[in-house]
């Protein structure tokens, strides 16, 4: 270890946490399935660089300190409670259910026309453990995952990829890889549920070949003591689309990082998100961070990001959005909008847009707004007989609709609405 950190403080705590993870890797590496070389490399990276700390620009607003102080044990095979199973939306498609990070075949189906392999981590080709430390952590400790391949020209329908966490103080690191061959189509409804305190550190990648369309719709509805740290990668070839929407409702500390590379001409990425945050039952404010990096690496590529935050109690929302436009990527069209509705005096929003543009003929715009509910709108609704709480709910939903409306998948949209309604029942706005 090259660190010269003082013996106490956040850096020391993070170093200790990294050391504990590495010790667990050393204990279990003989039985972990899959690519042992990649694991060893990731362990070396982690030993050298540690976990992301407060001195890194990309981690300025999100501290892993609370997570560093919680010990996470490896998970053991478990059966999920009916209460969690009941929260999986009944939508058409094939379920792939992971319980505490392990594939659960009895709860899962077998899709037609596409290939799914489980039983070991699906490392994929595009994840970057050398750059993203949590991806290194995932690579080092991943035990299972789904490798999904949709052949050329095939519409693979909908995969409901479910993570259920049942254990307290466990840590799990599922690793999924989705590959769409030319002209293929697939919707992945990516759902994270759980109860209790645990660490869920998934990595998922989408390789999207020419003319293919991947729709990645996510609902993060983890237990309120949970840590959700996920990283998604998308590499989008010519005329292909990565269309994503991420709904964040749960976890005490959450970070979703999305790295999308528009690699071929006319490739498009939509990275829309909504974060609804409040206090946990113990009165702590939730913290959730949505961080995106979109690399425009080919001409005529387009990216769209609409990120909405609804913050109550003492919650804190973070949005960091980086758009990188390479010299070759002329006629890039990039749009980014981040809006936050602060419903309490103690809620806080941190917003950091970043544009790095090396091409000279591009159209890139970004904007951010932070504010409270509009008093005139509230009065207008109430003057028509709508009670205050209902009026507030209507206005918050209207605020969210701009991010939800582009979801073309009606059943998934319904599942999002149902999850939001569940959040509503747990929080006062």
């Amino acid at each position: 270890m090259s660190t010269t950190a003082p013996p106490s403080g956040p850096v020391a705590a993070l170093n200790a946490a990294a050391a504990a993870f590495i010790a667990r890797y050393n204990d279990s590496k003989a039985r972990l399935p899959g690519d042992t070389h990649a694991r060893a490399e990731a362990a070396a990276l982690l030993a050298e660089h540690g976990l992301p700390g407060p001195r890194e620009e990309a981690w300025r607003y999100t501290s892993l300190r609370p997570f560093a102080e919680t010990p996470f044990a490896p998970s053991v095979p478990a059966e999920p409670p009916a209460s969690l199973l009941a929260r999986i939306p009944a939508i058409e498609g094939t379920r792939l259910v992971f319980v505490d990070g392990r594939f659960h075949s009895e709860l899962s189906g077998v899709p037609r026309g596409i290939r799914v392999t489980t039983g070991e981590p699906a490392l994929g080709r595009i994840a970057r453990p050398a750059t993203e430390k949590l991806v290194a952590l995932n690579t080092m400790l991943a035990e299972d995952g789904a490798a999904i391949h949709v052949p050329a020209g095939i519409d693979g329908g909908t995969i409901i990829l479910v993570s259920i966490a049942t254990g307290h103080s466990i840590g799990f690191h599922p690793r999924h890889a989705v590959v769409l061959a030319a002209g293929a189509k697939l919707t992945v409804l990516d759902l994270a549920l759980g109860d209790g305190e645990y660490l869920h550190n998934p990595v998922i990648s989408f390789e999207i070949a020419e003319g293919a369309t991947a729709s990645h719709l996510r609902i993060q509805d983890e237990g309120e003591g949970a840590f959700h740290l996920s990283t998604a990668y998308a590499e989008v070839a010519a005329d292909a689309t990565y269309d994503s929407f991420a709904l964040t409702l749960g976890a005490r500390l959450a970070r979703m990082e999305v790295h999308a590379r528009l690699a071929g001409e006319r490739a498009a990425a939509h990275l829309n998100a909504a974060q609804l945050l409040g206090n946990t039952r113990s009165g702590d404010g939730q913290h959730a961070d949505f961080t995106t990096v979109v690399a425009h690496d080919a001409p005529n590529t387009a990216s769209r990001q609409t990120v909405k935050n609804v913050l109550t109690g003492r919650s804190r929302g973070v949005f960091q959005g980086k758009i990188e436009v390479a010299r070759i990527a002329q006629k890039t069209d990039g749009y980014q909008m981040n809006q936050a509705l602060l419903l309490s005096a103690e809620a806080e929003m941190n917003s950091k847009p970043q544009l790095e543009i090396y091409a000279d003929d591009v159209k890139c715009s970004h904007g951010a707004t932070v504010g409270a509910l509009d008093g005139d709108q509230l009065f207008y609704l109430r003057s028509r007989g709508v009670p205050e709480a209902e009026a507030r709910a209507i206005l918050v939903r209207a605020f969210l609709s701009e991010a939800l409306d582009p979801i073309g998948h009606d059943q998934a949209r319904g599942a999002m609405e149902a999850a939001i309604a569940g959040w509503w029942d747990r929080h006062t706005i």
Partner: protein
């Protein structure tokens, strides 16, 4: 019956209403006219319950209920309706859903059965048609992208669907062409009857040619300075406020 006694209100430490006395018996339509800044809109907002106004004296009751002590939504459920001078845009809120939510909230508060989507749409479409409005208006977001005239017509459509017992129209005629003005007037006249009353706030005589009031009141400096029959509006049109408002009124304020 609407009964306002000695009503005084301030906003940002500025007195806007300065002792209003007004009685609108059930079944009657009264017009309130007055120059800019005389307190017309403030009176409308205070009656509807908008935040930001402090009532410093007086009372306002409707059929014996103390209006000033209850929430805006409770006033609406009692049958009060304010047609806004500047209708508010609600992006992301569908007009039909908005109206159905409002109607059902009022019906629920009154212990009446709620309307389902089919029943509601039938009612709303019939009212839209009666007011010569396109169905399309119901599908759009509330007032978003509406022209000034469309916004005012949308207020009248809401009034037609909600069927209030006491309507306050705050300069609903401003910015309307003659055709739109007639639609607004038709909307009010359609509700006219022994159980309906209205307070029509306006600058101009023109609307009162179409909605003929039982009484006309002149508001100046937060106080009603003159009341009379419909002829008072004509006198005002002919001579302006200066001819009507007694000099003492402005000095007293």
């Amino acid at each position: 019956m609407l009964e306002i006694k000695g009503l005084a209100a301030v906003i940002d430490n500025k007195t806007i209403l300065n002792g209003i006395d007004l009685v609108v018996p059930t079944g009657e339509i009264h017009a309130i006219m007055g120059p800019n800044g005389s307190g017309k809109s403030t009176l409308a907002y205070v009656l509807a319950g908008r935040e930001g106004y402090e009532v410093t004296a007086g009372s306002a009751t409707y059929d014996g209920h103390d209006l000033l002590g209850i929430e805006p939504e409770e006033r609406a459920a009692l049958g009060l309706f304010l047609a806004f001078q500047y209708p508010v845009e609600l992006p992301g809120v569908n007009n039909a859903n908005f109206l159905r939510t409002a109607l059902n909230a009022q019906r629920r508060a009154r212990g009446e059965a709620e309307l389902n989507a089919v029943q509601f749409l039938k009612l709303a479409r019939a009212q839209a048609k009666a007011l010569s409005m396109p169905d399309d208006m119901l599908k759009r977001n509330v007032n978003v992208g509406f022209s000034g005239g469309e916004k005012k017509r949308n207020e009248v459509l809401q009034m037609a669907v909600l069927r209030p017992k006491l309507a306050i129209l705050d300069e609903t005629d401003s910015g309307l062409d003659i055709d739109a003005l007639k639609i607004v007037a038709d909307g009010v006249n359609a509700l006219r009857g022994p159980d309906f009353s209205a307070v029509v706030i306006t600058h101009y005589q023109r609307l009162l040619d179409h909605i003929v009031p039982d009484r006309v009141h002149i508001l100046s400096n937060g106080r009603i300075v003159k009341s009379g029959g419909p002829e008072l509006a004509h006198a005002l049109e002919a001579g302006g406020y200066a001819a009507i408002v007694p000099e003492g009124a402005s000095e007293a304020a």
